[in-house]
């Protein structure tokens, strides 16, 4: 089909072709939509650039595989939201971001500490390195805390390695590094709207010059009892008695490991630490600058400590009330203990919500009197109130579950499900032990603390050397004796000066790190617990840092004593009332539980219909993730191997299309309207 002659269209096409030729390369390539708009373009971010100033001892070095001498440690910088630093100043359990600078960026081979250093070899040196911290969310305000991981044993992903240890050099980005009371610099980014191409903040100086003198506390959990899922809070109006009742209810204690007294348990712990690449140095062992020193509660070097002091998370200068029990007058102390119900992989797949409980630690009364507790064991009380996270994406969806029969007034103001605490095993984490603090003047002990009794409680006379100055000389007391002397006060407690830590050390600082943070947050990390049914023989597979005391064996159990998971006690719609002005509780009245009714009450821009709609939206937001669990029967009760005398809900055995064969606790009624 051949044409015979060129035609006008051909001329036109030729002209068009030439014009297109001229077009080639004339147009800029458009940028895709940002990721949050469904596109592929990364959203604009903030960048911090600056300098890290190191002032500390020469680094330990090692010979690399290629024969070069390199420093062992690296600089670790952590970024926290400025208004929510880690405890005790804030409640952040995890850094928002992490940046590292290799030690080789600071030091040369000539800087290295000699193999057999003399004391003068530890004289401080000063070095600097540049840093660039990219991909920070715009619109946020941050503070930078950091340290030089002198011994190279830091790793952010494991609870035993994710804080500074003794010998590390701490610091941060301060407003004035020379100030006595140093404040963190506020590093604020503008919004994405103002900075569509990102924002770079230059000239941020990070000063690292405060040696960390303490190791982090290493603890384990013991319980004389376990919490009954249908338990109730104490009903006395005496705040001290109420707290003591809570503390006694579960008989649960956090114990610091002591290299001298924990025997076989310590050996297992030390072996696990060694397997984790962290050699442990006993109190009487030879000094290893890279060794981790556990326990040594009575040694002559600064060691571990609970840093028991009031929590001031809101920064108002006053002690905060406990988030769960605060309405009942219970204060909030460090360490902050969080229990999170351990979920199996099947439960995770099935979308079973997370359940949290926040216990309270002991000794409110003594704090009120300016006194501190001398103890390597801290009693914790576990209130029978759990927080179920229906939708982890929105904090408003955290709904308390309270068993029937509890006081009502504080819960009528928020969305509450009157329902027993979900049974199961709860992994335990403690925020804010102590690390990074600076020891002031060595170990305490000379100061008289109290008048000792003439004899021990069993009638054994107190040795004279302990009583010659009217008090005991703390460092010289054998551990066993010291333990017995803890009960020197009439209330079985031994008070010490409030400027000392719980274990008796006079320390300052230590606020730039907490015991437990990670990326991601390692709170109750179920992936480190291989078998939540408890049938696994060894909870410590080779190299896995899972100790019997910290893993399943140390998990806190919530059991169901009567086999009736729901409404096992009083009528859920009726509860003890604390508003009757009577000295004791006991008045029973109808409870006005609300469904997300606290929200939007103050909104003046919404009429009643609008408020109701907004509430419904919120309820939908919170309930949608668990809607598929409505109507599914409860899993049967079973006795876990670790608690043969108790009953917990058995686990899910199958999941089909995200729907499990049973649920380990009931989903809130308000999420399942009309479904029994």
């Amino acid at each position: 089909m051949r044409s015979t002659h060129p035609t006008k269209p051909a001329v036109g096409l030729l002209a068009l072709l030439l014009s297109l030729l001229a077009l080639a390369g004339c147009r800029d390539v458009p940028v895709d939509d940002f990721e949050y708009e469904g596109g592929t373009a990364p959203e604009p971010t903030g960048v911090v650039q600056g300098t890290v100033l190191y002032s500390g001892p020469p680094p330990i070095c090692q010979t690399d595989e290629d024969g070069s001498v390199v420093p062992v440690g690296n600089v670790i910088l952590t970024l926290f939201e400025f208004d929510n630093p880690p405890p005790p100043a804030g409640s952040a359990s995890s850094a928002a971001n992490l940046l590292t600078i290799p030690g080789i960026s600071f030091f040369e081979a000539a800087d290295c500490l000699p193999a057999d250093p003399a004391p003068e070899d530890f004289a401080f040196i000063t070095r600097t390195a540049e840093f660039t911290w990219p991909e920070l969310p715009l619109g946020g305000a941050y503070q930078i805390r950091g340290f030089f991981d002198y011994d190279g044993n830091f790793n952010p992903f494991f609870s035993v390695t994710n804080i500074p240890t003794a010998g590390d050099i701490g610091g941060g980005a301060f407003v004035d590094p020379q100030a006595t009371l140093r404040a963190y610099r506020r590093i604020a980014f503008e919004s994405e709207e103002l900075r569509p191409n990102g924002q770079v903040i230059n000239g941020v100086s990070v000063a690292l010059g405060a040696p960390v003198n303490t190791e982090r506390p290493v603890f384990y959990l013991t319980s004389d009892d376990w919490l009954d899922s249908a338990g109730t809070l104490p009903t006395t109006t005496d705040l001290v008695a109420r707290e003591n009742a809570i503390l006694d209810a579960t008989g649960t204690t956090l114990h610091l490991y002591d290299a001298e007294k924990d025997g076989a348990a310590f050996d297992a712990l030390a072996a696990a630490f060694a397997a984790a690449g962290m050699p442990v140095t006993r109190a009487d062992g030879s000094y290893d600058p890279r060794g981790f020193r556990i326990g040594d509660l009575n040694g002559d070097e600064v060691s571990h400590a609970w840093y028991v002091r009031p929590v001031d998370a809101d920064g108002d200068g006053a002690q905060d009330l406990h988030p769960t029990l605060g309405a009942a007058g219970v204060n909030w102390l460090t360490p902050i203990v969080i229990m999170q119900r351990i979920r199996s992989a099947a439960e995770t797949e099935a979308g079973i919500p997370d359940v949290l409980m926040v216990p309270t630690v002991s000794n409110v009364a003594f704090l009120l009197q300016g006194k501190r507790v001398y103890d390597d064991e801290i009693a914790i009380g576990v209130p029978p109130i759990s927080a179920v996270q229906l939708n982890p994406a929105d904090a408003r969806c955290q709904v308390p579950f309270i068993p029937s029969g509890n006081t009502t007034s504080i819960y009528e103001r928020i969305t509450v499900e009157c329902q027993e605490v979900p049974t199961g095993l709860y992994g335990v984490n403690a925020l804010q032990g102590l690390a990074g603090a600076r020891q002031i003047g060595g170990a305490p002990g000379a100061e008289p603390m109290c008048t000792p009794p003439d004899s021990f409680p069993d009638g054994t006379p107190i040795p004279e050397f302990l009583a010659e100055d009217g008090c005991f000389d703390y460092p010289e007391i054998p551990p066993e004796t010291a333990r017995q002397l803890e009960r020197c006060n009439g209330d079985n407690r031994c008070a010490i000066n409030a400027s000392f830590t719980g274990t008796g050390y006079d320390l300052e600082g230590g606020t730039y790190s907490s015991q437990n943070w990670g990326v991601p947050n390692a709170l109750g990390d179920p992936s480190q617990i291989p078998d939540v049914t408890g049938t696994a023989d060894a909870l410590t597979p080779a190299g896995q840092i899972l100790f019997a005391q910290q893993g399943l064996g140390g998990a806190f159990a919530v059991t169901d004593s009567d086999g009736a998971s729901i409404d096992g006690g009083a009528d859920c719609s009726m509860a003890l009332d604390d508003d009757d002005e009577s000295p004791t509780f006991g008045t029973v009245r109808a409870v006005n539980y609300r469904v997300f009714s606290e929200y939007f009450e103050g909104r003046t821009d919404l009429d009643e219909a609008g408020k109701e709609s907004a509430r419904q939206d919120l309820q939908d937001l919170c309930c949608e993730p668990v809607a598929h669990l409505c109507g599914i029967p409860l899993c049967p009760l079973a006795a876990p191997p670790t608690h043969p005398d108790a009953q917990v809900r058995a686990g899910i055995t199958s999941v089909e299309g995200g729907v499990p064969n049973c649920v380990p606790f009931e989903i809130p009624d308000f999420c399942c309207p009309g479904i029994p």
Partner: protein, 882 residues
């Protein structure tokens, strides 16, 4: 669309159709059109209407050249005694270096001898006249009746020429008129000596003149001429009707008419093809589901050479060392084909067959358009005696559809140009040498130096590669089989072109080589029934040095295969195939059977039932990668591990090959000259897909602790200044996928020059035993293609392709600050594309001008969650062939 606007549009469409209908007198699709002319021509010749028949044959040849048409024209002339004309066509036929070259040359000599004999005889009978009219001894033999017949024939051909607007027919008619006039003039000049011997019918032959018998095989060459053939479905040329698989062919006309430069866009037109354009340099292709970036489940062959990039499991379309102008045709085989091609022929095969050497043809093309599009091409082919050659050179360039990071960003830095998506220059050459009628040697080589913007795998996305892609191939084709060796190489660097400040761009050097040897025996014989047996073996050595894998790696693969097509009866074929592959990382050889029954109720329709399996083995990336992946937390990385290092470090199971089991029922009908129909229904069961799993957090014992008994990962990497959160390793997805689907294709040629084609594909996947997903919806449930091609007699060409797919849902991995890497579902709305080309052929079709529109409606779609957002593009092209 308002009523008025719709009405206007409909009216315009109707007008267009009317114009098309009334301006037409020939048929449409070139192959069909040529076939029709050919059949008519042969019928006319058989009826004794030689000139009319030859005119039709010439039309066929003009429409779609084929040497056998020349042979048949020559033969028709020879049988009509018009030897001089037959000589011309025989010589043209011989120029194509046909297999029967020697026979035809012998016949040609015989014809020339006969003419010489006739010339010798004529002077003996009419010596005086011959002396007086030496220039035309034969013409003196013409009678008035013969001259009248010749003029009548010229008139008829002229009529036909006007009807078809055929220049060649006009020329032909004019030549006949001239000849008639010449004869009449000659006769008038020698009226005193009329001859008894007719000019054409019975020239006097001397007794010793050579025989005109062409011998065995000299019958007309019409068998299969202009019928479509596929060679990929069974490793030999056969009609798609008898192929054991569902097939599609993309013709040179499709390539030319659509104006696409990218092969993937051509394949988009095929029913059941899953095609997603991720960037102008990268189009991912699969069939019947399970498409993903890098196209790992389709085996793409170029002239039988595998282009599968083993380290990535990818087909890098933009790195091919030729342009679409070099393509003779593209064969698409849907469904598993491991029984013939081994690993990687999982979802189907694309066999790109380049233009053969020897054709006297030189083409120069150029194009330019919006978005930095440039297209240059030059190729030449020809023949020197037994040596055929073809050489080509070309260049392509295009800007990205979109870039991920704007040039004004202050939080990023730029490693490479973020505007260019495709910048590639290539050179290729092919030589053939016919040793004898049964033995041909060939050699081929090519190199492409390129910059490509491609989408990576897992959470790693926007890559730029720079380097060279090279290949060399040599082999031998004989009547009893073939032997082939080829070498593939890619030497390139890869890098993420833009990154947040101080974030590693993952720069890597990539050097990959494969060495393949394939031998095959092919015999047709009769034993109880007819057999077409193919038996062969292959060996492939693969080598990769790449910064992303743990160390330089080598692998040796082997395979044996056979296929037999049993002609049970005329209407029933049974196809049996099997292959055994030996893979170094698999404990046992992989057996891949295939069977098919083809029933032919008539010559033009077939019913096919087939069953087959296929597998895909792990790539080097899946086997050996060991790469620190940055995360949004600057000091944290996730280590990607291949199955081998993961087995050592994490004690994870080694990978099993991906497997597919397929059953298919198909029907094809080519009975009508006005339409073709093909339909198929299939069931696939897919298991063991290789996926990048979720992050497995390291235990402390795995961090830098050699005493734990397991392998170790460095706790802190000073090179990247990061701590490893965990490993993300390739694993077999336990999900079992059951897929049902089908395709319906219709191609019709209602009026002259008009092709209308449409196809529809349905696909639905059922998921079993899944831990990751409730559904598998990355493949659209519905896909529709619709197109029109029109070629006007005066040279205008118009092509429009419409493509629509329904919604998709993708499960892809993204970096996450909390988990390192996690899966996320991405909804992808259904989208449509409208592509088109308008062109003009002038200067006797030698010059072709065109304007190509891509995504004409500027539907700003994304064809993959991470793909670039397509824009509208336009490009002008000019091509000159001589």
């Amino acid at each position: 669309m308002g009523y008025r606007r719709m009405k206007t549009t409909l009216c315009r469409l109707a007008s267009l159709l009317a114009v098309l209908a009334f301006t037409s007198s020939a048929l449409a699709d070139v192959r069909t059109e040529a076939r029709r002319h050919f059949r008519r021509g042969m019928a006319l010749v058989a009826e004794g209407q030689v000139d009319e028949g030859i005119a039709e044959l010439e039309l066929a040849y003009d429409t779609l050249p084929h040497p056998n048409v020349l042979y048949n024209i020559a033969r028709a002339y020879a049988e009509a005694g018009r030897y001089e004309e037959s000589i011309e066509y025989f010589e043209r036929y011989l120029a194509s270096d046909p297999p029967d070259k020697e026979e035809v040359q012998g016949f040609l000599e015989a014809v020339e001898a006969r003419i010489a004999a006739a010339q010798d005889t004529a002077p003996a009978e009419t010596p005086t006249e011959t002396t007086e009219t030496p220039s035309a001894p034969v013409t003196t033999l013409a009678t008035d009746e013969e001259i009248d017949a010749l003029e009548d024939s010229a008139t008829q051909i002229a009529t036909l020429a006007e009807a078809t607007q055929s220049d060649s027919l006009r020329e032909r008619a004019q030549r006949l008129r001239d000849l008639a006039q010449q004869l009449r003039d000659a006769r008038d000049g020698v009226a005193a000596t009329p001859t008894e011997a007719p000019m054409a019918d019975t020239p006097a032959a001397p007794l010793d003149a050579p025989s005109l018998d062409l011998g065995e095989g000299s019958e007309e060459r019409s068998e299969g001429l202009y019928d479509e053939t596929v060679v990929s479905a069974s490793r030999y040329a056969q009609s798609p009707l008898t192929a054991p698989n569902s097939t599609a062919i993309i013709t040179p006309q499709d390539i030319r008419m659509t104006g696409h430069r990218h092969i993937g866009e051509l394949i988009r037109r095929v029913a059941g093809a899953d095609v997603m354009s991720l960037s102008p340099a990268q189009t991912a292709v699969s069939f019947r589901g399970f498409n993903q970036r890098l196209s790992p489940r389709v085996l793409v062959l170029i002239d039988g050479r595998s282009t599968y990039v083993d380290p990535l499991g990818a087909t890098l379309w933009g790195s091919f060392p030729f342009n679409v102008e070099d393509i003779e045709r593209i064969e698409v085989i849907r469904g598993p084909a491991s029984a013939l091609y081994g690993a990687d022929a999982f979802a189907g095969i694309v066999n790109i067959i380049t233009r053969p050497p020897g054709e006297p043809r030189t083409t120069v093309s150029a194009g330019a358009g919006s978005h930095g599009q440039v297209h240059l091409h030059a190729s030449t082919s020809g023949r020197v005696d037994r040596l055929g050659y073809r050489f080509g050179v070309g260049y392509n360039r295009a800007d990205r559809f979109t870039r991920e990071v704007g040039a004004d960003r202050v939080d990023s830095y730029f490693v490479r140009d973020n505007d260019i998506a495709w910048d590639a220059a290539h050179l290729n050459g092919t030589l053939t040498y016919r040793v004898s009628n049964e033995v041909e040697l060939y050699a081929q080589g090519g190199i492409n130096t390129n910059t490509l913007n491609i989408q990576g795998t897992g959470p790693l996305r926007d890559f730029v590669t720079e380097g060279e892609t090279s290949h060399a191939m040599a082999g031998m084709r004989t009547s009893w089989g073939s032997l082939r060796f080829f070498w593939n190489n890619i030497s390139a660097i890869g890098v993420l072109p833009s990154r947040p400040l101080s974030i590693d761009p993952l720069y890597s050097v990539f050097d990959w080589n494969t060495y393949d040897v394939e031998g095959e025996l092919a015999r047709e014989f009769h034993f109880v029934v007819d057999h077409n047996l193919h038996f062969g073996a292959s060996y492939r050595r693969k080598q990769i040095a790449w910064d992303y894998i743990d160390q330089e790696r080598f692998e040796n693969h082997g395979a044996i295969f056979f296929q037999d097509t049993l002609g049970i009866v005329d209407a029933l074929d049974l196809v049996l195939s099997a292959r055994v592959d030996f893979h170094p990382l698999l404990d046992a050889p992989v057996f891949s059977p295939r069977g098919a029954v083809v029933i032919k109720p008539s010559d033009d329709q077939a019913i096919r039932a087939s069953f087959g399996t296929a597998f895909r083995t792990q790539t080097f990336l899946e086997s050996y990668v060991q790469l620190a992946n940055p995360t949004p937390v600057r000091g944290v990385q996730v280590v990607a591990l291949g199955s081998e290092p993961a087995a050592n470090l994490l004690d994870t199971p080694r990978l099993s090959p991906e497997r597919i089991l397929s059953a298919e029922l198909g029907y094809r009908n080519e009975m009508s000259e006005y339409f073709d129909v093909q339909m198929s229904a299939y069931y696939n069961r897919v298991t063991d897909l290789v996926i990048l799993g979720q992050v497995r957090p390291f235990t402390l014992g795995q961090i830098g602790n050699a005493d734990s008994g397991a392998g170790t990962i460095a706790g802190y990497d000073p090179g990247t200044a990061t701590y490893p959160l965990g490993a993300i390793n390739f694993t077999n997805d336990p999900t079992v996928f059951d897929v049902i689907g089908g395709e319906f294709e219709l191609r019709t040629y209602p009026v002259t020059g008009l092709d209308i084609w449409a196809n529809y594909a349905a696909n639905h996947t059922f998921v079993e035993q899944s831990e990751l997903r409730d559904t598998e919806e990355r493949t659209s449930t519905h896909k529709i293609n619709f197109g029109i091609q029109y070629r006007a007699p005066f040279g205008l060409e118009v092509a429009l392709d419409f493509h629509w797919v329904s919604d998709q849902v993708w499960l892809e991995q993204v970096f996450d600050a909390a988990e390192g890497v996690r899966f996320q579902e991405f909804d992808l709305d259904g989208y449509h594309m409208l592509n088109g080309r308008i062109g003009m052929r002038v200067l006797e079709d030698r010059l072709s001008l065109g304007v190509v529109g891509y995504n004409i409606t500027n539907n700003r779609q994304r064809q993959h969650p991470f793909g670039q957002k397509l824009d509208a593009r336009v490009m002008g092209t000019a091509s000159y062939t001589f």
